[in-house]
């Protein structure tokens, strides 16, 4: 059931060292890369239908084109600020096959015409960032990176300071510029991001790591996997009440229940499934009956009222209290709201505090109304999608499990 494209070298011992990596096919795509013109590379990515794998699922090729269309200095920023609860795929790439990421960065920089790139690594990923730094140093020593390389690329690692919001691309750039990590106002028409005023492409680690395969084997080899709209594979992560939590790469479009049973080893201790949060904490929850029909691709999950997100599934068994599960998530949103926009700053704290009353079984019907109305106020009225995500989470829980909340009302 697994399809190993990005995770091909994960099992190989010491694949993070350049020596082993070179033996296992790293940097072979570069030969082919330099036979193409940059625009041809972008066209290949467009044909491959590669979608951003950080959660949004926007077509990568279109984003590359936006950055490429600008003249002058450009940057590539790799988003490795992986802090979505239930998501732990990027760190696998960084720690187990960092040279794949470096190879992808060279391909991407070549395509958009950038010579400098930054990898914004989550602050807590100190260990993985060290592994990545060693790999980068090795690549510099072998002139794969740096001025002497065939296409000069500089890579700099920047470690974040521990704010979830810095995974949002414009907040990430603010943080990288040395400012407080506040998301920027969204442009009215499509345009690239800007880092110190220069056009910049921001992509997730896994997106960049998927590029070498496409360059080497062509766009068709990639579209052969997955569904029509969601091509290729994704490093799905599975955690929670399953026997074998972990990261397993699979094609888009596989059945969710299938995936949980075959790769996740089924629900832990033979218990019944209650629900699954399909793609990181910020996607609306799916109750068991919907899990059975869910397929792991963007379109199917959207039609079920949820989203694929980062593909990090959190499995909840029959014993889980949904009130406590929601409290857990809302505490996270309360803690991580950056505090810029009013609805998010005040709303996330209000719903979190309100949920305490449900936990203590002192809630009233009015508190349930507060949850619903605040969730409504948080949706669609903020600069970034943090508050709408929190709102979606609340709505999902209330839609499918309202009875459990009603039980807590005095």
């Amino acid at each position: 059931m697994q399809t190993k494209i990005v995770s091909k070298n994960f099992e190989i011992p010491h694949a993070n060292s350049l020596e082993v990596a070179l033996k296992n096919g790293r940097y072979t795509s570069l030969e082919k890369l330099f036979t193409y013109q940059p625009q041809e590379v972008i066209d290949i990515i467009k044909t491959s239908n590669l979608r951003g794998k950080g959660g949004g699922g926007a077509p990568a090729g279109a984003k590359w084109q936006l950055a490429s269309d600008f003249e002058g200095k450009k940057y590539l920023v790799v988003n490795a600020d992986e802090s979505e609860p239930g998501t732990f795929k990027d760190r696998q790439i960084i720690s187990k096959d960092p040279h794949l990421l470096i190879e992808g960065i060279i391909c991407t920089c070549y395509a958009i015409g950038a010579n400098s790139s930054y990898i914004y690594v989550r602050g807590e990923y100190e260990e993985f960032s060290d592994i990545l730094q060693i790999a980068i140093d090795e690549a510099y020593a072998k002139n794969i990176l740096g001025d002497e390389a065939k296409y000069p690329v500089e890579i700099t690692i920047h470690r974040g300071a521990g704010a979830y919001i810095c995974g949002e691309k414009s907040a990430l750039l603010e943080s990288l510029e040395g400012n407080r990590g506040h998301p920027r106002l969204k442009p009215k028409s499509p345009e690239p991001e800007f880092y110190f005023g220069e056009p910049t492409l921001v992509n997730n680690v896994e997106t960049i790591a998927s590029v070498p395969f496409i360059i080497e084997n062509g766009a068709e080899a990639y579209t052969a996997y997955g569904t029509d709209c969601s091509s290729g594979t994704l490093l799905f992560a599975i955690s929670g009440h399953v026997e074998k939590a972990g990261v397993y790469e699979a094609e888009f479009g596989v059945g969710m229940w299938d995936y949980i049973q075959k790769l996740g080893g089924g629900v832990k201790n033979g218990k019944k499934l209650k629900a699954v949060i399909p793609g990181g904490a910020s996607t609306p929850i799916l109750p068991a009956h919907l899990v059975m029909e869910a397929k792991l691709d963007y379109e199917n999950l959207k039609s079920l009222g949820s989203a694929l997100g980062t593909g990090g599934m959190i499995v909840l068994d029959e014993d889980v209290s949904m009130v406590k599960a929601l409290k857990n998530l809302l505490r996270f949103y309360h803690h991580e709201s950056c505090g810029q926009c009013t609805p998010c700053r005040e709303g996330t704290s209000w719903v979190d505090k309100t949920l305490d009353k449900f936990i203590n079984k002192t809630a009233t019907l009015q508190d349930l109304e507060v949850l619903k109305s605040v969730s409504k106020s948080m949706n669609g009225q903020t600069i970034c999608v943090f508050a709408p995500a929190a709102s979606g989470v609340i709505d999902g829980f209330l839609k499918h499990f309202e009875s459990e909340f009603l039980e807590c009302i005095v």
């Binding site: 609805p343 005040e346 704290s349 309100t354 009233t364 605040v374 409504k376």
Partner: protein, 445 residues
């Protein structure tokens, strides 16, 4: 170009910000974070409007006008959105209006009366933050009243570029603060008090002095230097006390001071409240003085054109040599509003062709027997020997005979600033105890 706002066509320029168009045309649009001279930030979400063709309400401060734009600011749906945002703004607010200095000019109060009027749904504890924090430069902070519009932060980082203020903490724990041992310290610091739309930042100088609804405002010009910053004089008069000026506020003028004032100018209102002893005015006595041979007069370069004109005519008629010297202070100016030339109307002096030659004045002074000083600071604390010295003064003088005259708060007049801009200022509406200079000179004719 025209856009439709609540079914009324409004004329505007392509590419203008919608919120500017609404504000300039007097359409009510509630907002906290937007300020015309600080620009947009988009964080308060209060200026939501409905735009035809858009699924969701949009913020007016991040919408540029374009042809055929149809905007609704008053629909039921949009009022509901504003109400919900306001409820969130007020959620952790202490609602201590009775002891808050901002009460009466507070945007939270105003908007609650306009769009709120809901019953509170809050039944969880409020977030606690710091109170009465002294930020330095006369500015006090109450973090609980703050709506985090970031106007003050943007002012120190974008306008003064001193960057003392910042936000620390996240989510509902986010608060405005200064770094330890780095207090607010710049010569424009008190602008943040005026920029603050709520009672979070208050002025140590003004707080607890007067309720703002007891104050009247007069449109005036700051006399602190030749920049001619536009101000409001906030003053009042109670039953048993004289009129008192409580503060200066910046009055927006796009060409000169935008919405800002320097702290020196802002605090210079105190001079207007000074009391000093004065001789009784008798026209006949004064006419006796005028019989003295060899007279010289010195006029303050901060007097209005009208006053200077009257002085000039008076001096010509009574053959008095008239001079005016500028107030120059090399340590005062900076690269923004403050200017070394501390005279409010030196350009006006030059326009009236009054002599400004220091040497000529000193030579005339040596020969003169009578000196008439029209409010010039030079002679107020300096006594030329063996001379008769007469003052028409708005402040205390150490020597000579003093006739008190009304200060600029009680005068209408015209000033010309350093850039040649001619500006009017207007008197406060109360009766003035001291006579106006022009009227005194009129009596002498």
């Amino acid at each position: 170009m025209k856009i439709l706002v609540d079914n009324t066509p409004i004329e505007c320029q392509e590419g203008e910000l919608l919120i500017d168009v609404l504000i300039n045309n007097g359409v009510e649009i509630p907002h906290f974070c937007y300020q015309q001279d600080l620009g947009m930030d988009g964080n308060c979400r209060m200026c939501m409007v409905e735009i035809k063709g858009q699924k969701r309400p949009q913020i007016a401060c991040d919408t540029f006008v374009c042809e055929n734009l149809e905007v609704s600011t008053k629909s039921e749906k949009i009022n509901e959105v504003k109400r919900s945002i306001l409820e969130l703004e007020l959620l952790n607010h202490p609602v201590d209006c009775p002891i808050c200095d901002q009460a009466g000019e507070c945007k939270l109060q105003d908007y609650y009366m306009d769009y709120g009027l809901y019953e509170s749904h809050l039944c969880t504890p409020k977030t606690k933050k710091g109170k009465h924090i002294d930020l330095g430069s006369n500015v006090m902070l109450d973090q609980e009243r703050c709506v985090l519009c970031m106007r003050c932060v943007r002012f120190t980082s974008n306008i003064t570029k001193t960057g003392e203020l910042g936000v620390i903490g996240r989510g509902d724990k986010a608060k405005i603060a200064v770094a330890p041992n780095h207090p607010l310290n710049n010569s424009y610091a008190m602008n943040v008090v005026e920029l603050c739309p709520v009672g979070a930042l208050t002025s140590k100088d003004f707080r607890f002095q007067q309720r703002v609804w007891f104050l009247d405002s007069a449109k005036s010009i700051c006399h602190g230097c030749s920049r001619g910053c536009n101000i409001f004089i906030d003053y009042n008069e109670t039953k048993y006390t004289d009129e008192k000026v409580y503060r200066f506020r910046a009055r927006r003028n796009k060409e000169i001071n935008l919405s800002f004032l320097c702290d020196f100018g802002r605090l210079s209102y105190k001079e207007l409240n000074e009391k000093f002893t004065s001789s009784t005015w008798h026209v006949e006595t004064f006419k006796e003085y005028l019989k003295i041979e060899k007279k010289v007069a010195l006029a303050s370069p901060s007097l209005s054109l009208q006053q200077l004109q009257a002085i000039k005519e008076f001096c010509e008629k009574n053959s008095i040599a008239l001079y005016s010297l500028p107030y120059v202070d090399e340590s005062f100016g900076d690269d923004w509003l403050k200017i070394n030339d501390r005279s409010a109307n030196f350009a006006g002096v030059k326009e009236l062709l009054i002599s400004t030659c220091q040497n000529d004045f000193e030579n005339s002074l040596k020969d003169a027997n009578l000196i008439i000083n029209f409010d010039h600071n030079l002679l107020k604390s300096h006594m030329p020997e063996n001379k008769q010295l007469l003052h028409f003064s708005t402040s205390k003088c150490d020597y000579g005979t003093v006739y008190a005259i009304a200060n600029f708060a009680h005068e209408n007049g015209t000033l010309i600033n350093c850039d040649g801009i001619r500006q009017e200022y207007y008197a406060t509406k109360y009766r003035c105890e001291t006579p106006r200079l022009v009227e005194l000179l009129e009596e002498l004719k």
